[in-house]
């Protein structure tokens, strides 16, 4: 038994605000996802958060635990609730590939029968308001619920390709600056993306995609849909042209220079989920790319 997608939800700030609490945004996506999936929330056995840029850079507890509390899933031991269910939650950071890495872990647990449902949540926003340089990621969150598949539908193959020689192409880190107001220092988030990064991402993604197709014994013509990462800026557009899959290579409309980060693939998924293209496609590839450089791919079959 594999795992299939039961529901996907996304959330963005209301009224056009950019700065929001990433945990609240992720919680909103998770609640919508639970409502849409129509399952008992207590059946969620694993909850993984994969957001990178989190509210006030909270280090502990895991953001996943805070989301679990906010959505009220198995808050305490079985004795209190009268059932015998529990939820384990943790954060996973793997840049733009985090969402798919977490899905792979959930897929494994569902396949082995350890859990009935798993939820992957992701959300990014500027950690401290106006304390960053070159932060071009949209405030956005997404949640995906995975469930067991009774037939062969769902995820069937996961692969990650690594390109450590490009690890310094994208680096985001904090530095301490003494130039704050009234002489107060500030921890500033600095996002350093080399000019060559988008092109290198396209090269790595193309190489990985064809490597993945070889491993899965498929050709590009067999693929009905590619659900990719939406960052860095220009990545989807260039890769789409390179592989020649225009309409079936899902791209979210751009608004300025801001891009979706870890939630990007989920936003692309939501687009084809809503217009029913996802369910009507036979072979779907999830293609995510992140700093490192890591490229993670998964094959999903209906």
């Amino acid at each position: 038994m594999g795992a299939q997608i039961k529901m996907v939800s996304v959330a963005q700030p209301r009224f056009g605000f950019h700065h929001v609490n990433s945990i609240r945004l992720s919680t909103r996506a998770a609640i919508q996802c639970l409502d849409g999936a129509r399952i008992d929330p207590c059946d969620i056995g694993l909850l993984v958060n994969t957001g990178i840029y989190r509210y006030k850079n909270t280090g502990e507890p895991a953001i996943a635990a805070l989301i679990q509390e906010a959505i009220g899933v198995n808050r305490t031991c079985a004795e209190d609730t009268g059932n015998h269910k529990n939820t384990f939650s943790f954060d996973l950071n793997n840049g733009g590939c985090g969402l798919l890495t977490a899905i792979e872990i959930v897929h494994g647990l569902i396949s082995s029968g350890e859990i009935a449902y798993g939820m992957v949540v992701t959300g990014d926003s500027e950690p401290f308001y106006h304390l960053s340089k070159e932060f071009t990621f949209k405030s956005a969150a997404a949640a995906i619920i995975l469930a067991g598949s009774k037939n062969s539908n769902g995820f069937s193959l996961f692969r990650t390709y690594t390109y450590p020689e490009y690890s310094d192409e994208f680096v985001s880190t904090t530095f301490y600056s003494n130039e704050g107001w009234h002489g107060k220092g500030r921890n500033i988030l600095n996002v350093l993306q080399k000019e060559s990064y988008p092109d290198i991402c396209v090269d790595c993604a193309e190489k990985s995609l064809f490597g993945f197709l070889d491993e899965s014994g498929m050709k590009l013509d067999d693929i009905d849909l590619i659900v990719p990462s939406q960052s860095p800026l220009g990545f989807t557009d260039k890769l789409k042209k390179r592989v020649g899959m225009n309409g079936n290579f899902i791209e979210i409309e751009k608004t300025g220079n801001m891009v979706f980060h870890t939630a990007g693939p989920a936003f692309a998924l939501k687009k084809v989920w809503d217009d029913n293209r996802f369910r009507s496609s036979k072979n779907i590839i999830f293609l995510t790319i992140g700093s490192g450089i890591n490229v993670s791919l998964a094959l999903y079959q209906n």
Binding site: A65, N74, T76, F88, K184, G290
Partner: protein, 349 residues
């Protein structure tokens, strides 16, 4: 095939600089805490000096682990970094790329898949939990779990903010720095395999211990309702431990070494007494390694294992239980039989 996994080797990196509890207490302008060393059992902790940080500790621990291992770096299939603190180049927090991706590059683990996880002080055992899933499904054969904690900087914030012994930042004074790494490998030997059980997050208690980055000063801060989280952890963990023991058909008497999360001596002892009341039995020995290193966050279990391995205290086939409590509130149990690793660390038993 459903594979089992076992711990193949362990490595640590302890920074050289010492900070004694009396030196730490001397930093307070107005003495407000009494008998801290006596209550916590911590007489000193090791802290990072210039040039050391979470990343350097993790990298050195990974190298140390490889030096005890039969595997070369390029034979590792996966690296999971599990640290809470992600400081590189001093107190600069690294968001991206992941620590594990940079460790891969530094140690030459060219084919390893990498990602970071964060689960407070349960980080490394959560790493074991994930590695076991990947190994059991046959996706990988070897996985390195690594963590580097430059967490003593929380003391600096605490010293400036603590005014009474009831302060929510008191727990920050127990912290020390350390790096730890372990290689988890596939095994066909059912008897030596890890039993992983009870990993659960009781989010009702998620507000009892919170840590985050400072806005105006380098480093972070942590606020803990120490008494409440201790009470919750002890009372909630007893049925989870019981279930784990049942799963591997053992009683608490059969556990030769119980290694709990190293918070403070008094809380470990009161927890042990609670277990004695609940189970009517006790493990062979409860491991406390706080005295010289303090609470080293996610690395405590593997630091304790490494130390006892080097002190040749373990024998092959000893039953060991790792018990984690972490903010969230996370409770997890890992039980395993000590394997032939003991001989590589010099044991003759």
């Amino acid at each position: 095939m459903d594979w089992k996994c076992q711990i193949e080797s362990i490595g640590v990196k302890i920074p050289g600089k010492r900070l004694t509890t009396s030196e730490l207490m001397g930093k307070f302008k107005i003495p407000c805490i009494k008998k801290f060393g006596l209550l916590t059992g911590i007489s000193e902790r090791k802290i990072c000096s210039t040039g050391e940080d979470s990343f350097s500790l993790a990298t050195e621990a990974a190298k140390n682990c490889l030096s005890h291992s039969k595997y070369r770096a390029d034979e590792l299939d996966m690296i999971i970094n599990c640290s809470i603190t992600k400081y590189k180049d001093g107190l600069s927090h690294l968001y991206e790329p992941s620590f594990s991706a940079l460790i891969r590059k530094n140690i030459g683990a060219s084919k390893a898949i990498t990602f970071d996880i964060s689960n407070a002080c349960a980080g490394m055992l959560t790493g074991v939990y994930i590695a076991e899933k990947f190994i059991r499904q046959g996706i990988i054969k070897t996985c390195m779990i690594v963590s580097g904690e430059y967490i003593s900087n929380l003391c600096d914030h605490a010293i400036n903010n603590i005014t009474t012994s009831f302060s929510s930042e008191i727990s920050s004074l127990t912290l020390g720095d350390c790096g730890a790494a372990a290689i988890i490998e596939r095994t066909a030997d059912e008897k030596k395999g890890l039993i992983i059980s009870g990993f659960t997050t009781l989010s009702k208690y998620s507000d009892l211990c919170t840590g985050r980055q400072n806005r105006n000063t380098p480093g972070g801060k942590m606020k803990t309702k120490a008494k409440k989280i201790h009470q919750a952890a002890i009372s909630e963990s007893a049925p989870i431990v019981q279930e784990a023991l049942k799963k591997c058909r053992l009683s608490l008497n059969d556990i030769k070494w119980l290694i709990p999360h190293q918070t403070s001596r008094s809380s470990i002892i009161s927890g042990a007494n609670h277990y004695l009341n609940c189970f009517g039995e006790k493990p062979g020995q409860i491991v406390i390694t706080l005295k010289e290193t303090g609470n080293t966050a996610s690395t405590t279990h593997f630091l304790a294992l490494y130390r006892y391995l080097n002190e040749r205290r373990f024998s092959e086939d000893d039953n060991v239980m790792l018990l984690c409590f972490a903010s969230g509130l996370i409770i997890g149990v890992v039980i395993f039989k000590m394997n032939e690793m003991v001989y590589r660390y010099g044991s003759t038993n």
